[in-house]
Symmetry: D3
Subunit: 223 residues, 6 copies
């Protein structure tokens, strides 16, 4: 029933870089307000920012055996996405595992559970988004899977999907839609830059977006 898939398809690295630079809020909007993880996923330090293809890991709660199994199938630039069979805040990941991941070129971790050694991870500038910070240790005794489809913090993640993460949260871009999401994101940024300039000059969103008619239609009255 449990398996480790060694080979996955990865998206174009150039596109991944662009999505990472654009950031979570833009990418999430550009793909139709989908793919966002729950707001309890927070970075361990506020400047954390990254993007990369997902290597997915499904663990038993409180057991990090499969994270160890996943290291070997990671490529430089990958992001590890770890989820558990049921809710847990155990600190399933720490500085030693991060050292191992860094040695294999992994750029960050998304974990729907706890993380520890946060002081050391911050010093290493290894970004992690997690549900909790907790020192509670784990065992290594139960089977799980690597590179199977998972649900992580409310979002569906397939191996090779692009993970975009920053202080606003974590967003998943399905691998096959990457080119169109890049295009839509860039269009959005261009439009926003124009709006930003107008707003800076004091123009109202009410006028820019034609919302006065909407208010009238909805029967909102001015006093």
């Amino acid at each position: 029933m449990h398996k480790i898939v060694r080979k996955i398809q990865r998206p174009d690295p150039e596109a991944v870089k662009i999505l990472g630079d654009l950031g979570v809020a833009t990418v999430h909007e550009a793909q139709g307000r989908t793919g966002l993880m729950k707001p309890y996923m927070r970075p361990i330090y506020p400047s954390a920012k990254m993007a990369g293809p997902a290597v997915t890991v499904l663990c038993q709660s409180g057991d990090n055996l499969m994270i160890h199994a996943a290291v070997e199938v990671c490529h430089p630039g990958d992001v590890l996405v770890v989820t558990t069979g049921s809710d847990s805040t155990d600190g399933m990941f720490g500085e030693l595992l991060a050292t191992s991941l860094v040695a294999h070129g992994v750029v960050g971790l998304i974990i729907d559970a706890g993380v520890r050694d946060v002081g050391e991870l911050t010093a290493m500038d290894f970004p992690v988004w997690s549900k909790a910070i907790h020192a509670h240790g784990t065992v290594k005794s139960t089977a799980g899977s690597v590179n199977v489809p998972v649900v992580c913090a409310g979002a569906s993640v397939n191996p090779g999907d692009v993970i975009v993460a920053d202080v606003d949260g974590v967003c998943v871009v399905p691998r096959e839609t990457v080119p169109e999401v890049v295009k839509a994101s860039e269009a959005r940024v261009a439009k926003e830059e124009k709006n930003r300039q107008s707003l800076r000059e004091g123009k109202l969103g009410l006028d820019m977006y034609g919302l006065r008619a909407k208010l009238k239609e909805l029967g909102v009255e001015y006093e």
Copy 2:
């Protein structure tokens, strides 16, 4: 049923400045331990600190139409206070709206929902206290009101009430009580300064506040 009130009464700006300098803990105590929002309201960066008259906004959850409608009725120095009809963590506010508010002189935002573009807002030094940080976008299609009485994070807010906010949370001072709260806050600060000096020298609160008798009366025994 829904309306936008253009004109509200505002408190004396000098008094607002004093309350902001005194900070949340002092002001809350000085007005009899009232007016505090729930502890889930947290600043997006720890040095955030501000005070100003409230312009209140009541939105449908997941819909920021009325925030756009509110910009126009804000005066320089105001604080926007946004609440929703039911619980939500959607990121109803971001950098574009902040740019617009800054252009109109608004000094900060209190929102009983989510906020996004937190990296950009921090760089702009635009302070926000929110229930969540979440990139999730919103629509602009449902009516609400501006400058009506609202309940925000458990506290009652009327338009023109003074909002005082810092790392300790968010406190509401009813407009009509501002002068007496300023007076009571300053008296408290003066008294505390005296106590601080004594405590620094090693004197015990037990003696300073006459609590030994209290302990005895309550039957607490020493071993």
Copy 3:
């Protein structure tokens, strides 16, 4: 029923210092994954780090009378551990009490409730781990106890137990086990340093910890 115990036994200060330097994650593992408080206990600033013998305080929720009573029995180097009869987020502790504790040499606070004056406490570099940051004030009218066994954030704490706290959370080391925990912690650190070096060179945890056999035994298949 309620009492204040003046004299408690304290552990060897040298051992306390070593445990503090080793940090929460190491100490918690070294004593068999026990003694950890719940993950909702967070430091008010990320660099907070300390260790010391516990002076325990049991308060009524929303009443800090017994914290005042506890100051007097503290020794330099102690850590105050405050818990309440039922759940509360009230800000039972602030800068004035911290000033008093500093004057008596106390090195930090663990409180299963709220804290306030967080800006001032951070400026003083007085570390606090709490359930909440909230300005809500408290009364001083109900009996409690000092230096009795308490449960704080899910962990059992006896007076004189060593509290180790950092960004990963808060761990309690029973006083009588301190010497063996120091020994086990140091052994763990030595072993980890060796592993760290191997992982840095790209060696896999899978091989280092002999986990390949485990995966096979569990029936995990490679694809």
Copy 4:
């Protein structure tokens, strides 16, 4: 600062009865989706259902002194609405207080805190909506107020407002709007009865409410 207001204005008892029969969902919709308390307010038994004018009580958390003070100002048919200065789950109310309230004709309790003696209260058929069921006892030592405006579970309540409560939650109808809310509620019920009949026969809401055009306008496609 704290006070007990003996006399309050009450709404027409006939109107109160009608609102109670109509129930929370209908009344909340009829007054424009306002006045609803948070969903954490749950009845202690599922058949609980009542309506009545609010006598409001503001207590210190963990202190039920003011509930005792409120009994005397209650009239037959009233509902007690209790809130606290900060979050608490303490069991501030039990069977003895219920016995007292029943003797004075009070028909139920809304409490944004805990309740206890739930077995006895259920046997007495005294309905309570609370945030928690918890046996934790309280003191009687801190001042509060009776019949002042309060915020209870996120809703603003003024003395004399109508409280409508059933298994769907708790709704507040401002006293001065009672007649129009009764009218709007009855109109809603009449309309719904017609719709119910059509739906029962298999007609689609999509057709009844004209939503097909909406779907088309929004660009939703059929496959």
Copy 5:
């Protein structure tokens, strides 16, 4: 981007019935401890129990337009599975929609949001599993989808998957694995029946499952 898929593949009705009779705990174990929704999903009355193929609905939070759109594509025996773009407790479903679903033969509802008219739904014996009971009403103005893959309460659901629900929670059986899960569930039940008999006679699980050796191997000592 949004669409309504009219035709989906459904599993063998006989198999669905068997899974429903076996119940959530058995089915979840039999398919390798997967497919379970989060524990916050609770039935509105304790005797609720059902199984059926999923018709999935993705709504904007606080907007039930797509539930109306879904009714038409339901077949007798189906279960409606509703999820929202972001967290919400709004009462998106009530007695009128249930009347409509019953008219089309739908046997129950799974909704990762709120439900209302719980008294009427219980009287109708229409089972619902939800995150909350809340009267808060919703709009009908934003696009969504019907019969697309969704994540509901932490579980991945594809149209036509079997939903099994009872007082223990909600479990999803992927359509293509239904035959093997039926077989594994029945095998489990047979084995458990034998064990139950032994346990009833006082035999120990420790002996029946051969756990004494395990305890010894783990170094657990008897005192």
Copy 6:
């Protein structure tokens, strides 16, 4: 490190029976408002009520090996108290284990985690107080202890302490204080019976408990 203690001291069965009849609220008050578990511990059916000496079990989260190990050391009349190393809602206990416990005379379960087969347990009238109802299964592979001191849902429990549980929650009475708590509880009940009669006749708590003077002293004014 981990052990199973076979022999524990148990309290007088007659006293246990009396405490169970008195119920949680009375016992908790009579022992000075201590010993109560957190309010999230709820019975699986509202009429659940029991008392008995605690056999304590410390498990790894998501692993019920030690529950199996505990059955053998239980005596008729005992209550099993299960806690885990870190937070979990996994369904660690179900109908088969209950069948085993019933065969050994155990009268109920307190578990700071999840429970499943709630329909069957209710039919068997086997009472359980738990943090969650969840079907999620567990493994049997990690060491823990039986009959060691534990913290369960915020309360300290030693083997042989009396557990009293009903719809109001769960209370722990330390074994050595049982006789005095019985006495204090019975005194309380007698006093309450007298007060109940007065309250039923309309007398006010304000007068009975002498609270009018308190209100005056606190400066509460009547209007």
